[in-house]
Point group: C2
């Protein structure tokens, strides 16, 4: 999708919402929700309580939406696609819960995180519960193809998380190093989800791989957009404070790029400001000005649009027209959403 | 194995050590070690560093020993058995690392825990790395039978961990509730490991199930013995302080049984002592006297010996004599070891 294409509105919706994107899979999405709730049926009271809390802190369900659309793209949305959608969201949620515990985040989507509403202990063990529930669902349904994809993706995600810890506060982080982490942390699970959706929908092996590449590109674009929010978002919309990435030592693309572009004097001043953590006391706006003026914001937007183009090009051979359009809208959504 | 049998020494070794138990699988155990180290080959530096630390804090390797012997029991120890042993130990280690983080433990086997040597963040993410590495190894080796067993076992373990949190400081815990938690937390992984060992060794379906029951009984006996150490052990031998279970709110069999047996007045006094956490200031010896005098220690020992008998009875049809003897010794070890 070119920038021009993004600017052309597809009437009547200027920017697609997840609700409109889900129209072709509306029934399947309802069924997904029921199976999601089933994952928290457990005689340990805590599991149900955390499940109910997660239900209130209702996520965007972006990943399951893609899994279901990837199935619809090549055929019917069957039980395998539904369970695949549940499993991908379980793994994603487990990661978020462990991430929040690692980052000591108190709020997500405007509600207390599991570590703050309960404790770090419960966050660690609920994350483990959700990961293992995901794999237990897959073996019970004998979905070994999905298992192959998701075992690898989950392992790569854990490597990405550790790599990110290792790279904390590394102000000299390169774009390639940044891209590698977001590929591991975010893109590989979305890629696996889209690939398994296409597999469940009966897509040929080549189509499965194309949808995998689609998911990978969408995932990168999605994460770059997310990282932009940390500089440009408003807390009321995002449900989290701006600057929290930098606060947590995460060096992301807008900053990496502006540090590369800025004249030496300004670059050094910014490095000092960050090292001395002056962005915490009144100098946050200097950081935002720096990433804007030296092109980091524009570059990140351009990169995410390039990746969106790349994702869209993988949809050429999708036979189902509704699913294809909805997947295109999902790409659009990933790079234009406001939260 | 009856108590009388336990008292009969099998010359020349009074109490079997893991080294003597491993004699029939000595070569395989060497190969296991090499494959274990491979699991930490990763371009994220932290993974290798934590791996080296875990290597120093060398565990007993009780679980992989059982997996390899269970394979030898029915045939040769092949690549599948070796990887099965690695995967079971990876899952066990992941659980220990998350447990130590949950319990805020500072020392394990005389060395700093991952959460104390690094941080809780690293402990959470390294645990995730090891879990996901385990499943990644299984899918790469296309070991789907082992996957079925271990996905279920891992999920049950996570339920047991949450159940244990929910039951913290529940002084009215019943023996049945206690047994359920140790079945989930400890026994089900050992059961799965022995079953997959027998499967890898080419044992018939019935033999696999028998070894699974063997492992389950050994696991329960092992954990009851472990929980006894918390009352009877010496810190210098155990590498952890006595009383740490009670400190962490874990009510275990010696106490449960003595609370059932004690006269009402003494029972109430002990409940008050524990609720007021007086065992922390000079009253720990009162607790030890209580669990000894009211039979909780003797009862726990008897239960673990009963389970040892039960485990041994599952070995009747094991064809390989050396492996059968070594598995018997392993049962003996589980209930007589001093750490």
């Amino acid at each position: 999708m070119t920038r021009a294409a993004l600017n052309r509105s597809r009437a009547p919706v200027e920017e697609p919402t997840l609700e409109t994107i889900r129209v072709p899979i509306a029934d399947a999405f309802e069924q997904f929700q029921a199976r999601w709730d089933d994952a928290f049926l457990c005689d340990v009271h805590l599991v149900g309580a955390v499940g109910a809390h997660l239900h209130r802190a209702f996520g965007k369900r972006f990943r399951p939406t893609l899994v279901l659309l990837a199935a619809k793209a090549f055929g019917a949305v069957d039980e395998e696609a539904l369970l695949g959608a549940v499993v991908v969201e379980l793994i994603h949620t487990a990661t978020l819960i462990h991430d929040d515990s690692v980052d000591k985040s108190l709020v997500r989507r405007g509600l207390p995180t599991v570590n703050s509403a309960w404790s770090n202990d419960v966050a660690i063990l609920m994350g483990d519960y959700l990961y293992s529930k995901a794999f237990s669902i897959l073996v019970r349904a004998r979905m070994y193809g999905a298992m192959d994809l998701l075992a690898e993706a989950t392992h790569r995600m854990s490597q990405g998380e550790l790599r990110q810890i290792e790279q904390r506060n590394r102000i000299d982080l390169t774009e390639a190093q940044y891209m590698r982490v977001i590929e591991e942390k975010t893109a590989c699970l979305i890629a696996a989800g889209c690939e398994l959706g296409a597999m469940a929908g009966g897509g040929a092996s080549e189509s499965q791989l194309a949808l995998g590449r689609f998911g990978g590109a969408v995932g990168l674009a999605f994460q770059i957009t997310d990282d932009l929010f940390d500089y440009l978002g408003a807390e009321s919309v995002m449900g989290k404070a701006m600057g929290s990435d930098l606060e947590g030592g995460k060096i992301t693309l807008p900053l990496i790029n502006s540090l590369r572009n800025a004249p030496e004097r300004d670059r050094r001043a910014m490095v000092d400001l960050i090292k001395n953590r002056e962005f915490r006391n009144g100098h946050w706006s200097d950081v935002v000005r720096f990433v804007t003026e030296y092109g980091g914001v524009a570059y990140s937007q351009a990169r995410s649009l390039e990746l969106a183009d790349q994702a869209e090009s993988e949809l050429k051979h999708v036979p189902d027209r509704d699913a294809r359009e909805a997947l295109r809208d999902a790409v659009h959504y990933a790079v234009t959403r406001h939260r």
